[in-house]
Amino acid sequence: MGSTTNSALEKEHLVHHDHVHHHDDDHEESFITKYVFSQDHKTISRQFLITAVIMAVIAMTMSVIFRMQLAWPGEKFAFVNALLGDKWAKDGILDPNMYLALVTIHGTIMVFFVLTGGLSGTFSNLLIPYQVGARDMASGFLNMLSYWFFFISSCIMLASCFIDDGPASAGWTIYPPLSAVPEAIPGSKLGMTMWLISMTIFVVSSLLGSLNYIITVINLRTKGMTMTRMPLTIWAFLVTAVLGVLSFPVLVSCVVLLIMDRSFGTSFYLSDIYIGGRPLDNVGGSPILFEHLFWFLGHPEVYIVLLPALGITSEIIATNSRKPIFGYRAMIGSILAIGFLSFIVWGHHMYMTGMNPFLGSVFVFTTLLIAIPSAVKAFNYITTIWKGNIQYTPAMLFSIGLVSSFITGGVTGIILADSTLDINVHDTYFVVAHFHIVMGLSAIFGMFAGVYHWFPKLFLRMMNKKLGYVHFWLTLICAYGVFFPQHFLGLAGVPRRYYTNSNFPMFDNLVDINEIVTIAAIIGALSQGVFLFNFFYSIFRGEKAPQNPWNSNTLEWTTPVANIHGNWPGALPTVYRWPYDYSKPGKEKDFCPQTIPLEDGEHDGGGH
């Protein structure tokens, strides 16, 4: 049954393509339909990427501002005043409310707009049709809507930074009652309303995208592209999309209930509150309900961020080690296991919330289980580069950086997953260090790796290698310089989200640690200028890309170096082998694209 559906869809696509092919080989599409409201997966991918780059620069600048406040509290910075104005940074000293707002919006943008929308949006869109051998996404129209919802939600989130009371400032986790009661903090007035609207629209975008990704992977694989011949990128994107479809709607329900509490007088999350000199009417709700709903999305979200990065690096590490990825099936198995387990570990964010401690112990068990597939992945990466012939493209450097940060951040997860040990470091800088390294760094390294590797497919040009090298080393060193010392702040008991540590004498001897962190953050942020220049310069003036610059096996490198509708000018390619036949004995070259038929008696790697 499956095969008939496939071929029927394929035929339909071919017919559709031929139809288009005859009529508009060149530019019959207008500028608007080609570059703005485009339904082509490649254009949409570029739109996601450039939006995410802009959002990332904004969120990074915010982090520099609040890091400077933490290192040098009370110092006057003219540039902070220039950016934030007299209301939020009088004389260049950051206002405490704006500090919390910056922390909140930095987290929100990074987690959702850069590492979810940006990462999945860019690479799922670009690579799914290319690597499964499809003309485009299953629904180009829904795909276009997905981007434009993302765009609208980005605009609302940014606009919220310019309103009178300031943007949402209850932390990116927006726990009520702080986020629900406007008297609690100025950011919980209009700013929070805009945050909630923006996130709801974001979820619409994410769902449209994810459904498209799933349907495309399941239905539009080209002939011969069985599930066990798919590159690990596609496996990662598929599982990511499934996680998104199952968890993001829960965030919407969580947000809708919060909107009801805020605007329509319900009491889902509120009870027994006395604030602003009067008791509120709300009785019977519980903030813990919010925490459960939020983290039911929030934890899978971590893997929504991480899995695409792991998929991207699996592909890049194999290609540039000139070796098959080690343990292809185990890698698929761990992606699936991580995907499944990610739904039953959310409670580890809530050990200290007043949740029943017995429930906590269940989550200890499931959370530590997830370390097993994660460990398998890390060891498989290391075995992949063992006895390889490593080609150090900038993408490969970032992939190695990812494995390092995945390990370095992952090991402290063992501490935090253990509820007993979590008691004393919960919500301290130890946690900040842990999740920034394991999730933030790994995912952003994966994203950089993807941009450097697939730039030839995105913009048909090459990025500058030397600038890529400079960018990598500065970024890696600064990233560890920022986040590694934060473990020690956590060991000294410094809570996160403190506007300054100078109000507690017990933290006075940590001044130099905070300064090191901030200086690394400033240099790290400036180094991103190297990337931005390389990126935008190469879009217009980079060297022209050849068809298969990295001698890679996957299908996207069989397409011509041109932006054509339907990806392949003639028939769709047929796939005969798994994508990791690098340095296979008996072959003339050290790679063997998926489109080359198996020789007599030759064994397909993926099938074992």
């Binding site: 919390l100 009520p176 009652p177 702080l178 609690a184 009870s271 509150i273 008791p279 009785v283 519980s286 080690s321 070796k323 098959p324 080690f326 343990g327 292809y328 099936r329 185990a330 200290m352 919330t353 112990s361 200890v364 068990f365 289980l369 370390a371 460990a375 398998v376 498989n380 290391i382 063992w386 006895k387 490593i390 150090y392 494995v403 090991v411 501490i415 253990d418 007993t420 008691i423 004393n424 090459m462 990025m463 500058n464 030397k466 090298y469 080393w473 010392p485 020690f488 060991l491 008991g493 809570p495 506007y499 300054t500 017990m506 001897n509 640690i513 003036r541 340095s583 296979k584 050290d590």
Partner: protein, 348 residues
């Protein structure tokens, strides 16, 4: 001034543009393409990986050597000592070794197998034994971590059956802490948030007579040493978290419900001040304070808010004083009871 900055930026852009044109022109003369990775590149980058690894490890060791002595002093509570033991076991036998070993292999291989002129890769797609090995070894290690972690967790979080316990309620509000002691009857009075007022700051139910002897403290919180302290926590407005890092104790304060945490403080404030580790730590702190022209301080236990709660979250603190039971009782006897403070004025 702004004009000058603008002018400088414009000039920089023009200069950059000219420079790029020169580079682009010279690029046309070369035969090789810039983006292609050569054996020389691989050699350099592979060596850089090794150098980075050494630097990274040295950075770790430097930090640990320098900053470990600024970590919180050893736990000052019974269960906290166990947490410290478990922490050290996890850190010293799992986390730090795994960090070093796996990062070492990663960067060592990244260096060793850099693609030089005659390097060939080995086709090695899978090996079930290896994969089984690194599934089972972590599974065993994690089993131990889970078993010991949960054993302590159940002990720490179990309900107190101690008859001789001291009950204290911590009451959180933006942005301060209060404490309530149950008084002679050993019972905390019922509460009703609607009755909160200037003289009834924690919202006691004035109809409940068992609360009349309750003692509300809005200053340093005193606790007796070596007695089981059972904390009940409430919040007036938003989420807060009662964080007592020196006792390894933490629990969120949630409006609408009562949360709890129990612990036995084992060292008085005075004893802590004499502890050699604490002394050297305080010396470091006072040295730094001297640089800022601040007065020297002595060690104190602290209660901090550890859940974002608004603009002054960073300053929501209360000093805790642990003292002998006799001193504690003497202090408690001097505190005013609720009825003498509030009930008479407030009752209609």
């Amino acid at each position: 001034m702004k004009l000058l900055v603008l002018l400088a930026i414009v000039l920089l852009i023009i200069a950059g543009h000219q420079l790029l044109r020169i580079i682009e022109l010279s690029r046309g003369l070369k035969k090789t393409t810039e983006w292609q990775v050569t054996a020389a590149d691989n050699n350099r980058m592979g060596q850089a990986m090794l150098v980075f690894m050494i630097g990274f490890f040295l950075f770790f060791i430097w930090q640990a050597a320098r900053w470990n002595e600024r970590a919180l002093p050893g736990a000052a509570s019974e269960h906290g000592v166990k947490i410290d033991v478990l922490w050290d076991a996890n850190m010293n036998y799992v986390v730090v070794p795994v960090f070093f070993i796996t990062n070492f292999f990663l960067f060592w291989f990244a260096f060793k197998f850099r693609g030089l002129a005659n390097t060939k890769a080995v086709y090695f797609p899978h090996n079930n034994k290896l994969e089984l090995l690194w599934t089972i070894v972590p599974a065993f290690a994690l089993a131990f971590i889970i078993i010991f972690g949960l054993k302590y967790w159940n002990e720490i979080m179990s309900e107190s059956d101690n008859k001789d316990k001291v009950v204290v309620e911590l009451y959180a509000q933006q942005f301060q802490w209060s404490a309530r002691y149950p008084g002679k009857d050993g019972k905390l009075g019922e509460t009703d948030y609607r009755q909160i007022s200037g003289s009834n700051s924690v919202g006691q139910d004035t109809a409940d007579a068992s609360g009349y002897d309750d003692i509300i403290v809005q200053n340093d919180i005193h606790l007796p040493v070596n007695k089981e302290i059972v904390l009940y926590m409430r919040s007036r407005d938003v989420l807060h978290s009662a964080y007592l890092p020196h006792f390894r104790a933490q629990m969120n304060c949630v409006p609408g419900m009562i949360t709890t945490f129990k612990f036995v403080p084992t060292k008085t404030t005075v004893e802590m001040r004499k502890d050699p580790y604490v002394k050297q730590m305080m010396a470091g702190i006072n040295k730094q304070r001297d640089k800022f022209n601040l007065e020297p301080v002595e060690f104190d236990y602290l209660l901090l808010c550890n859940k974002i709660c608004g603009a002054s979250h960073f300053n929501m603190q209360r000093t805790i004083i642990v003292e002998s039971e006799a001193d504690y009782n003497a202090w408690l006897a001097k505190q005013k009871m609720f009825k003498t403070v509030a009930v008479k004025q407030d009752k209609p």
